[in-house]
């Protein structure tokens, strides 16, 4: 009887497990029937709300679902490199070109740009407001040793920030405790900056949709060197045969098409346009 009981209990436990697994597995299988592609992208595009605006239009037209894994540019490229995404949609030109050169991606195509902004406390202790020269602003911050929060996460924004320090001929890490690397995404880094009244380089998209601004405001914008170009790359099917090339190409073509470009241009927060399409016409 005991053995019978034990067996019955075990069977019941497995049945209960299967009951939970079943739906989860079924959910996976169900969505698998509907074609989908995986896009590795950046937190800035996801958190700005652009994808929520853009993707339903594409899915409605083609029936292809787009699953976005939003991480830093460095990690997004790594995901593409390992073949865990079909498309990479990021903003770090040199890293993207290297990705393609190494054969992980087929071709880098420019999609759109937005711009970075220098955000800081309204009190502006380093006096950078209105200079319009981001390099001078960086130098002033370093000179005053005003707190500066860096993403420090190898993201596109982080790479852009490091490039600006280089232009300013400053090694911020040598300067002491005013330079703080958070190793986090744009949002968490902004939370940190808001918490310690620090300067921070941010992308405009995330800033516009960011709610916990505290005492922070835009201090420097409009400098050409704050230009932030986004590129889209098909993960190389020759290297990763499971890449859904047909669906992925359909997505890339649509994003670059007049229709997709118009959709990007039409995304606004509080009346302000976040991303500016600049795809080159095919063959141009």
């Amino acid at each position: 009887m005991k053995l019978f009981e034990t067996t019955r209990r075990a069977v019941m436990a497995i049945a209960v497990g299967a009951a939970f697994l079943g739906p989860a597995g079924a959910a996976g299988a169900q969505t698998a029937e509907k074609p989908f592609i995986t896009v590795a992208s950046t937190t800035s595009t996801e958190q700005s709300g652009l994808f929520k605006h853009l993707l339903p239009q594409f899915t409605e037209k083609t029936g292809i679902e787009v699953r976005v894994v939003a991480v830093g540019t460095g990690q997004a490229l790594k995901i593409g490199e390992r073949g865990d995404a079909d498309v990479v949609f990021v903003h770090a030109k040199s890293a993207e070109e290297e990705f393609v050169a190494k054969g992980f991606g087929v071709e880098r195509l420019e999609v759109m740009y937005n711009d970075f902004i220098l955000v800081g406390p309204k009190s502006d202790p380093a006096g950078v407001r209105g200079t319009g020269d981001v390099v001078k602003a960086f130098q002033a911050i370093a000179e005053k040793k005003s707190p500066f929060v860096s993403r420090g996460d190898d993201s596109g924004t982080h790479k852009a920030e490091l490039a600006l320090w280089k232009l300013a001929a400053i090694d911020p890490k040598a300067g002491g405790s005013w330079y703080r690397e958070t190793g986090s995404g744009m949002g968490p880094a902004l939370n940190t900056a808001a918490g310690m009244d620090a300067y921070i380089l941010a992308d405009r998209g995330t800033w516009l949709s960011f709610k916990n601004r505290g005492d922070l405001a835009i201090l420097v914008e409009g400098d050409d060197r704050l230009f932030n170009q986004y590129g889209i790359i098909l993960v190389n099917p020759a290297r990763h045969p499971h890449v859904k090339e047909k669906e992925a190409r359909a997505f890339i073509d649509w994003v670059l098409s007049p229709e997709g470009q118009a959709a990007i241009a039409s995304y606004k927060i509080e009346g302000e346009q976040l991303f500016f399409p600049n795809a080159r016409k095919k063959g141009a």
Binding site: A24, A27, G28, Q47, R67, A70, R82, G83, D84
Partner: protein
């Protein structure tokens, strides 16, 4: 601090409006964590009991390892599972990365040591008490395992609930292997992390309150069932 009022209001709004996105991610959270805990229990309960009773070289090292694994950082578990499931990894061909199944696997990895370690302790204590009697009745150590698990069932419920708590609360592992894809792998905790990133702290905290209420409800139900069953079993 006014943030709490806003958070409570956000939580209340989410609950009373029956926000469909919330229902979806809450359901996925439950599905993933409960499935992971069932899997972890199926592995951890017998494993813990076997560790309590078995004598073999290296047993102590294994016990210490499993105890230590209770503190395994979720992100590390997530990374291990990520490398396993990645297209470039050994289980790549199954294409499980960024699916709920991947999240279940990662949470099973996290929860199994907790259930196994707590089970080992409970069963070892009970074995101390039962050992002579069961040996006298002719039960082998192997045969004693189900008996001890059954007789320790009320204590083991706590072990399983501890595992469930860990699964429901963690974000590091499922964020890495699930990718926090809207509508596919977004759970309560990854949504909270996302809203925090967006600086929408009231909504993040509101989601946290909803999660807390769900976990509280599960524990209350387990407690109620436990006391009823205990009264029946003496």
């Amino acid at each position: 601090m006014h943030g709490f009022d806003e958070a409570l209001a956000a939580a209340w709004r989410l609950i009373v409006t029956g926000d469909t996105a919330l229902v979806e991610i809450a359901t996925l959270s439950l599905k993933v964590s409960l499935t992971a805990v069932v899997c972890a229990a199926l592995i951890g309960l017998p494993l813990g009991a076997a560790l309590a009773l078995a004598r073999f070289p290296g047993r102590n090292a294994l016990v210490v390892t499993i105890n230590a694994l209770m503190g395994l950082p979720p992100v590390v578990a997530g990374l291990l599972v990520y490398l396993l499931l990645s297209r470039a990894g050994p289980l790549g061909p199954y294409g499980l990365l960024f699916t709920p199944t991947a999240m279940i696997i990662a949470q099973t990895v996290l929860v199994t040591p907790i259930i196994a370690a707590l089970t080992r302790q409970v069963v070892a204590d009970l074995w101390q008490e039962y050992r002579e009697q069961l040996t006298s009745l002719g039960a082998s150590r192997l045969r004693a395992v189900p008996t001890l698990l059954w007789d320790a069932r009320f204590s083991l419920v706590t072990a399983v609930l501890a595992g469930l708590g860990r699964a429901m609360a963690e974000v590091g592992a499922i964020l890495v292997v699930g990718g926090n894809i809207a509508g596919v792998t977004r759970t309560m905790t990854t949504a909270i992390a996302l809203e925090t990133s967006k600086g929408d702290l009231p909504l993040a905290l509101g989601l946290g309150i909803v999660l807390l209420v769900i976990v509280l409800a599960i524990n209350a139900a387990a407690h109620l069932l436990g006391t009823t069953a205990r009264r029946a079993a003496g």
